[in-house]
């Protein structure tokens, strides 16, 4: 994997996540926006070898924490989610948009909830309507994710992601 292009891609995702550009497509009174870093995490976890997926998940989680207000919760939850997803990815199909959306929805919900609990344990602050916001964010990301997935597939060669099917000798 070429780490410099991957880091640039992660930085772009972080700026979108933390910035105001996605407000243009925000919905509802809670300003629900899609989560580009989760989409990137799922894509990388499904398409990379375990070693690269774990490191990439860690870096994505770290970027998510850096753009937020506390360090640690997303780093831990994304690393866990990415590693586990990579291990299990051979059992989950990812060719169809529906499967991609389902994976993004589940990972977003699980990683987001875990990060919220860890953040709450660290600071003692709990938010009203947190689960509702996380659910809607996961849903929105799942709807938008397959479109972003197509874009990311075109960048696979740029980032030199070796598809798992090639890494495993074409078993998938």
């Amino acid at each position: 994997m070429r780490w410099i292009p991957f880091l640039i891609l992660t930085l772009v995702g972080t700026l979108l996540q933390a910035g105001n550009l996605l407000n243009l497509i925000a919905l509802g009174q809670w300003h629900i926006r899609p989560a580009p870093l989760i989409i990137l995490l799922v894509f990388v976890a499904v398409h990379c070898r375990l070693r690269e997926a774990v490191i990439a998940s860690f870096l994505i989680g770290l970027a998510m924490d850096m753009s937020g207000h506390q360090m640690g919760p997303h780093t831990l939850s994304y690393c866990l989610a990415g590693g586990l997803l990579c291990q299990l990815s051979e059992y989950f199909p990812s060719r169809r948009m529906f499967h991609q959306a389902a994976m993004i929805f589940c990972v977003s919900l699980i990683a987001g909830t875990l990060a919220y609990w860890l953040g709450g344990l660290k600071t003692g602050e709990w938010q009203e309507f947190a689960y509702r916001v996380m659910f809607l964010t996961a849903l929105y990301s799942a709807c938008v994710g397959p479109l972003v997935w197509r874009f990311l597939r075109r960048l696979v060669h740029l980032v030199a992601i070796i598809p798992l099917s090639a890494a495993r000798g074409g078993l998938r």
């Binding site: 910035g19 105001n20 850096m66 660290k122």
Partner: protein, 277 residues
């Protein structure tokens, strides 16, 4: 003899990165927040792109007969309420300190104008502003709207050059308030907490108190931080509390939609203002 390359197994690497995450989680926030501020400072021009949120319903009720534009009406309403609070304060001073010479009371001692860099991120309702401890910004200071006529939040933490403002609508933000009605001596003290969306809630107010929709809600004066009560919003709903039928559950609609602000003013007491000013 060639040296052997030390290689971690996949499992060991995974464990190592999880441990690194746990260490980051265990570090106190005071030590790690500089990383967050550094990121915000480095990329603030890019983060600011697209600042405006989608417009929502206006915070203030629509007048039946509109003689001026709504924005102008809102501005005039807030200024009127603040002047009324100042007048009451002046009357109290005159009655109780008539024999003692006193200076004209001021709203606040000093202001620092700051740009809103972006939202704080995550599930919180916070703003990142471009002024910090070097400009006299400290935790607990009140933050005003650009017209400096209503309170929108409180400084939550401050780095050297940036600070984080927690909006009044954040579920973890509480503020002491006074509920008043024009033409009456009513002045009910209470604690207001954000509801996590676009409003705030006041609870623990006895039902004996005559609170009505439209009553003005002020931030209570705090010596050194806010010398005269300042308007926050108005009562939007008054219903009996389902958990405690002897109490009211009051919903407050803030006068300002803080999510669209591009600049704010931080009340900086003179003793913490930077020396160069």
């Amino acid at each position: 003899m060639a040296g052997r390359r030390f290689q971690l197994s996949n499992g060991a690497l995974f464990g190592l990165l999880l441990c690194a995450g746990i260490v980051l989680l265990a570090l106190p926030r005071e030590k790690t927040q500089s990383v967050n501020y550094l990121f915000a400072r480095l990329f603030s021009p890019l983060l600011r792109i697209g600042r405006s949120f989608p417009e929502f319903r206006a915070a203030m009720p629509h007048p039946d007969e509109q003689y001026v534009p709504r924005e102008e009406h809102n501005k005039l309403w807030k200024n009127y309420k603040n002047l009324h609070a100042q007048l009451l304060r002046l009357q109290d001073d005159y009655q109780t300190l008539a024999k003692v010479r006193s200076g004209l009371p001021r709203f606040f001692s000093g202001l620092t104008i700051a740009e809103v860099v972006g939202a704080g991120g995550g599930l919180t309702q916070e703003l990142l502003i471009s002024k910090g401890a070097a400009d006299g910004v400290r935790v607990g200071q009140y933050v005003l709207s650009p017209e400096q006529n209503s309170i929108v939040g409180v400084v939550r933490d401050a780095a050297e050059r940036m600070a984080r403002v927690r909006l009044l609508t954040d579920a973890n933000q509480s503020i002491e308030v006074r509920i008043r009605r024009d033409g009456t001596p009513m002045d009910v003290g209470a604690l207001m907490v954000g509801d996590g969306k676009r409003g705030c809630t006041v609870s623990l107010v006895e039902r004996e108190k005559d609170i009505r929709v439209g009553d003005a809600v002020y931030a209570a004066a705090r010596p050194g931080l806010l010398e005269t009560p300042m308007i926050i919003g108005q009562v939007a709903e008054v219903v009996p509390d389902e958990d405690s039928p002897l109490l009211w559950k009051i919903t407050v609609q803030p006068a300002e939609n803080a999510s669209t602000l591009k600049t704010v003013a931080v009340i900086v007491p003179e003793m913490t203002a930077p020396m160069r000013q």
